[in-house]
Structure formats: structure tokens, C-alpha cells
Symmetry: C3
Subunit: 312 residues, 3 copies
């Protein structure tokens, strides 16, 4: 693997999932691989799981980890080509990416969308600029439109817990008080089309995701119908894509309950708002996989970093 | 040791003090013990000594250290059971503690009191919630009502510097412009009742600490009388416990001076406000142990972490 | 080397440059040297290059790195001797420096000038106070008036790229929208007087640097004349020294262009404002050494840290 900007960078997803599960059973098996190598974790936004799990993944591989909170430790970056930098930005991405590449062997990056400028968000300016100007591989730790490490984690978790060859997986929208990005549902929807599952999406009308991403996936507006016979229910809120970044509904009746999911396993990327997205009874039940998902974040990242280190 | 929430978690305090002093003379003797283990240092509040000394202690044991400033790196946590999380908090402690437990082998935590809600502070909601929902041992790096790593440090320091079998130790209140927590005096008072010292407390009337903690310890309102024949004088400010979190007095006459302590050793947990808590002449004299106390923070933490790692 | 507060701490600059270049070709050759040693990186101000390169330098030498953002992780420090600390500052430098010395083997420090109080800035209170009260070596990661690690980097880069025994090096002032410190031009000017180069400085009238630092160096107010036959052009903005911290001119005609520098190599410490300090055409050309300079930051720091570790 030369980079991990999005799921398209995966050559063979089934093999990558298998590698991650193997690493999980023996996390320190490749500790020599990362010796004298370092990774820079660059955060434009807050992070808990991603920060700790990517750090752990790198350390499991024997790498040194350097963390930079770009908004507080550093200064504002300029991304515009040819701009006359006499205002707020102090350093151009051309220099920043090239310079950071001198100090680390891999750059991992988190940069959320504006949710106000759809075109700009979809251009993925920050991560694409880093890719363009960095001389080392770049890893996406959640960008404006994609969270591929989370989607890989989710695929690993489904692979571990599925009890039939081709399980039914339902992605259901759920209410939330704030406007949230599309990165997680986008990447989950893409990943479900890459592995062998029966996948449907359910949400209130007006919450359609980017049709280029959902592709042929059935969209069912009736949550009850969609959830029928589900093996895995993945809940997530997102803001409107068509009416970009807007909250069209906070309809509480979309909250996930045990009654709705029956015997299905419950998944969520976390952080999750209890009794808004999903009822306590689900999260506190044996059916919830959310903690195992969080655990698998380490091995998803570790499998990706291992591939990148070996690809050098 | 299974955890270090408070001094009650110590089985044998004299042995633990001895272990710390042994580690001090050979800090890297157990560097294999922490191999492939990691500790998460979680800060809800500022820290200098605790941050660096706990990090160093873990590194001396060969552990990896991950630091999370929860207020800036992460987001607000919910601690209420069953709450409908449609307001400010983005993640429930149930998930946060369980998730962080996936990434680290020990969680160390700092969370100061409100000093406005006595009942809530005494419930020690944050550290107790982490203990309840974490699946790995939890270490207290100063909570609302206790700072057991500091108290262990203080006991180590007294053990190193005492010149008689049973020295006289005086905890004296001293003035300070801001309202300070009770964690340090609480834990110090508890520790002094666990080791073989002649212990008295002195403070202006109205500054009584929690009587459940001070127990049978003599409280003397006359500082001069209390300090008589002291071998160790431990100065500390705290706000009123009865009139919770209030400043009842900033009486400068309580400032510690050489004249008051005579030949006694001087102790303070730091940071200390010079010429408010204690005169320059004391801190700059040979009698001051404050830097050695700070040094011992490393070995107190290291002895505790070593015990926890071995107890696994 | 006992410390690296400024360039005067270098015994033999040519040897240090040679050591750095040797380390660059084999960065992990001394990984045993820093075993069980640690460095504390203390930041009063933002940092990207210095933070990452110094961290990498220490890790290359096998050291543990502890980072403290003093303004956010800690609290305000008091530097005044004998002060009655009943206001904003919570800890005196006497304790802070002595305490941090208990936890690390080297303290590295960044503290920018006020640019409003010339006398105070020139006293270098922060770094000098650390030096005075720390019991371990102190390294300057940019202070009010000096940035010796940058100057060492620049000397290394000139040494690598020079094509004649005694190249002509020009330091040119360039416009910038904000008032910038003198640390980089000061240290660069000092360094150029320590190595075998033909050195001139050019800037608009009113931008004279401290004459004690520029010494006998020719000051030429005509940029074109100064740049004639230059082998290396080092661009940098600084605010007025005489009219301390003021912006006297933002004359765009001082921006560096290809036309001006002809075949000379271009240098800048970064971050650089494109098309304000220097035109895109220069930075994007083969003549630009700015990324290599950034790379050399690691080896400058590593050569200094190695010397300090060996000097113990």
C-alpha cells in the first residue's frame, strides 16, 4: 500500500481484514518492522479513539509517534495555489507537507468538513494537498468525506461476528442534536459494497447520502421494514447531503431500540449519544459490539501501517 | 495492587515506601516489566509535576505513554446514568472508559473538584465512574478529594530524611489568594496516620478538614504551639471544608518563616506561592525538601505502577 | 558542550557542522547514547519544525521525549526574585526549573520576545532563569533574541551546498504583514561571522539589527547591489530594532524574486509567506534550499544533543 486516503487504496480487502485479525491475536509480531521509523499524527480536530488507537497501532509496530495538534501547537495553513500570503495564514501546505515529510515516515491526518461549503468539502482540499506535497505516505484519520480506517474496523468486526456467509447489514440514520459529517456513513456504505453482505440503508426522506457513494444500495425510508431480519444494525447520524449540512429532522422515533433490532448485533463508531441515537438497553446488552469495534480500530490501523511500511 | 484510587489500596505502606526507595537507587531495574504495556494519562486539569513524573515513572518501567488532555483533545463526557444526551456532552463515561481500556493497560486520571458542590465532589464521580467502567486498573493522579501519589511521595521523603524513629510532623494551613482543593491535605493527613509519626494539624478556626479524615489527629489553632519541636513542617493552603470552597481568611501571619519552623525540615507539594505560603528564606534554605519531594514523585508513581503491573 | 543557550556555547563550529553531516548519513549510530535519558521540550509558543525536529533528533539518539506546552498544560510562572506571589503567577521559576530537572536530563525551551519591551527581551529572562535554576543542561529552541539551532542548521546547509571555498552569503530583509522577532537574523548574522563566508546584510533604512551582533558586517541599503554575485540569499523579515518591534515598511519591492537572485541558492528558516517574502517561482525552483534546511534541523539538534550527552 502506498497511501491510505480512502478505501480505493486497498488492493484486497479480504486479505487486509485477515491480516488485521492475525495482528490482533499477536500484536507485537512485527515490532522490528517499525524500528527507527516514525509516524506523525496531525490533528486539525478533536480525537479520542483515533488518536489513541493509531498511536497504539504504530507503537505495536515499533514506530515512534509524534503528535501535532495543528490548531493549537502550530498555526493556520494556506492551501490556495499562488496566493499572496499577507493575511491570516502563516505557512503554505507546500512547505508544511514537505517539511513534515522530512521528520516522519508516514503522515496521518484528521481534518473535518466545514459542512457549509459542499463543493470545497468534496474537494478534500486538506488531505489531497498533503498527499500532493508530502514525500511520504499519507493516512486518512477522517477527512471531510471519508473515514476509511473506521470502515475497515467495521468490516473486521462484521467478519469476526457474522454467523452466516452473507449477513444482512442495515445502516440506519438516527437523530442527533448537532449537524454531523458524512464521512462515517460514506465510508461504511462503500465498504459494505466491497465485502460479501446484504446491505441496505434506511433514513428519513431528505437524508439521502451522495448517490455516487451509495450506488445500487437499496434505500428504504421505512426503518421497520429495513431492519427486518437484520444481522447487524449500524446506527449513525448525519446531516442532509442534498440540503448540505442542514438538520432536516431530529425525529426521536428513529432512535434504535432492542425492540426494533430484535436479535441483531448493534454497531456504532462512537462517540454515541445515549438515548438519542440508541437506547441504553441496546448499548448495555450483549448485542452491542461498540467496544469491540473500538478495540478493532487498533488492528485496522496496524494492518494499514504494516502494509505501508512493507510497501516501502 | 489492583488499582490506586486512594491510600486504602495500599496493602503494606512501609513495604511500598521501601520499594520506592529501592527503585530510586536503580530506576531501570524493571524495564522489562512494562514491555509492550502502555499507560494512558488522562488530564481534565493542568499538571506539571504529575504529568512529567508519572510519564517518567512509566518510561522507567519500559511502558509506552499516551497522554490525553480531555478538555482540549477530546470532548465533554456524560457521567449521569440513563441521561438523554441531547445537550452538551458527546460521549458517556461508560463508552469512554471501556474504549480507553482497549488501548492501554493502566488508566491514570486527574480530575479536580468543583469546590462549589460538596456532595458531588465527595462522590468522586469522575474517578469512580472510570473505575466502574474501565476494564483496566485506574490510578488517581489527584481527584476531587484525594492525591494519594503525593501522600506516598511525602511519606517516602519523611522516611528518607527523618532522624528519629518517630518524628513530629506538623501540617500547617497557610494563606493563598485563591480557593484550593482539599485533596493534598486530606491524603497527607491520612498517610500520616498510616506511618509511625507524631502528627498534628494547625489552621485558623473555620478551616477544619473533613473530621472523618483527620480522625483522632490533634487540631491546634495556635500555629506557634503546634510547630513546637516539629521535625517536619508541611505547609498547604486549602479552602474551608465546612463552608465549602470558601476563603475564610488570608491571614498573612500564617505564612511559614524560618523563625517559626526553627530547625525543622520544610515540605510542600508544589506549586507554591513564594512569600505568601512560605518565605523565600525557607525555600532557599537547606531545610527545604520541596525539590526532593518533587523528585520522589517519580518513584512513588513507579512503585505503584510496578505493583499494578506485577499484580496482573 | 554543557549547554546550548547561544552560539557562544559552540567550541568548534566546523567540527560541529561535520558531526551533524555525519549523523545525517547515519542517524541511528548513537542510539545507545541516549538510552534511559530523557529530554523535556518546553514550549511557551507555537512550534512545528522545532518541535518535530528536536523530538526526532532526541529519538534518533535513543532518548525519551516529554513535551510540555507551558501555557496550556501548566500555569503562569513567576520570574521576579523576591516577589510576593499573591496575583496571577502560580509557580516560581526557581521551583519549576529545579523540579523539571528532576525528571529530564536535558531541558529544551522556546520562549519568544514581547517585542514591546526591548530591555526585558534582551535580558532573556526566561531562558536565563531556566539556566540559572535548572540542574541539567538547557537548550535554546528560540528565545527572545536568538535561535542558535536554526543558525547551526543554516551553516550545515551552506556547508553542504557551497561550490566555492568562500561563498558570498546575503541576508536580505523582506516584507511581512506582522512584526517579527530578531532571533533568526541575529543568530544567522552571528553564525556567518563564525564560518568562512563573504557576508553582507541588506535591508531598508531603519531596519538595522543590533550593531553588537552585526559587528563589522557590511550593511547595504540597496538590495540589488547587495545581491550581486550572491551564492546564497537568505531572506527574512524582522521588525525594527531601533524603533523596537515596529513595522517601518512593508515595501513589496523587497520581495525576493528569481530575477533578483539570479543563480543563487535561496534560504529561509520557514514558515514563509509566499509571494510576500519571496515569489512562488523561487520556492518552487531547484534553487530553493528551504526543505533541505528544515531537514537539517534534525541533525543540527542531534549534533548538539549528542555533544551534551557526551559531555556529561
Amino acid at each position: 500500500m502506498k497511501q491510505f486516503l480512502d478505501l480505493e487504496d486497498i488492493d484486497n480487502v479480504d486479505e487486509l481484514i485477515k491480516n488485521a485479525i492475525t495482528l490482533k491475536s499477536n500484536p507485537f509480531s512485527h515490532k522490528e518492522l517499525g524500528k527507527n521509523k516514525s509516524i506523525g499524527l496531525l490533528f486539525f480536530n478533536s480525537s479520542l479513539r483515533t488518536r489513541l488507537s493509531t498511536q497504539k497501532a504504530a507503537q505495536n509496530l515499533g514506530m515512534e509517534v509524534m503528535i501535532l495538534n495543528l490548531n493549537s501547537d502550530g498555526w493556520a495553513l494556506e492551501f490556495e495555489d499562488g496566493s499572496i500570503m499577507n493575511a491570516g495564514t502563516a505557512e503554505h501546505i507546500k512547505e508544511a507537507a514537505a517539511v513534515i515529510s522530512q521528520y516522519v515516515d508516514i503522515i496521518a491526518l484528521r481534518a473535518f468538513p466545514s459542512l457549509t461549503d459542499k463543493k470545497k468539502d468534496e474537494e478534500e482540499l486538506i488531505i489531497k494537498s498533503f498527499k500532493e506535497h508530502a514525500s511520504v505516505p499519507v493516512v486518512n484519520m477522517e477527512s471531510a468525506t471519508a473515514h476509511p480506517l473506521q470502515a475497515l474496523t467495521d468490516a473486521i468486526t462484521i467478519s469476526e461476528f457474522k454467523q452466516k456467509e452473507r449477513p444482512k447489514v442495515v445502516l440506519t440514520w438516527a437523530p442527533h442534536p448537532r449537524a454531523l459529517p458524512h464521512a462515517v456513513p460514506n465510508s461504511f456504505a462503500k465498504m459494505m459494497q466491497m465485502i460479501d453482505v446484504d446491505f441496505v440503508i434506511t433514513h428519513p426522506e431528505g437524508y439521502e447520502l451522495n448517490p455516487k457513494i451509495t450506488g445500487e444500495t437499496p434505500i428504504i425510508y421505512d426503518q421497520e421494514e429495513a431492519l427486518k431480519d437484520a444481522d447487524f444494525v449500524y446506527a449513525k447520524n448525519w446531516s442532509s447531503y442534498n440540503d448540505y449540512g442542514q438538520i432536516k429532522s431530529t425525529d426521536e422515533s428513529w432512535m434504535v431500540t432492542l425492540d426494533k433490532i430484535k436479535a441483531a448485533k448493534f454497531m456504532h463508531c462512537l462517540p454515541v449519544r445515549r438515548n438519542v441515537i440508541v437506547a441504553d438497553e441496546v448499548l448495555d446488552s450483549e448485542q452491542s459490539l461498540v467496544i469491540e469495534q473500538a478495540n478493532n480500530r487498533t488492528y485496522a490501523a496496524q494492518a494499514v501501517l504494516k502494509d505501508i511500511l512493507e510497501g516501502k
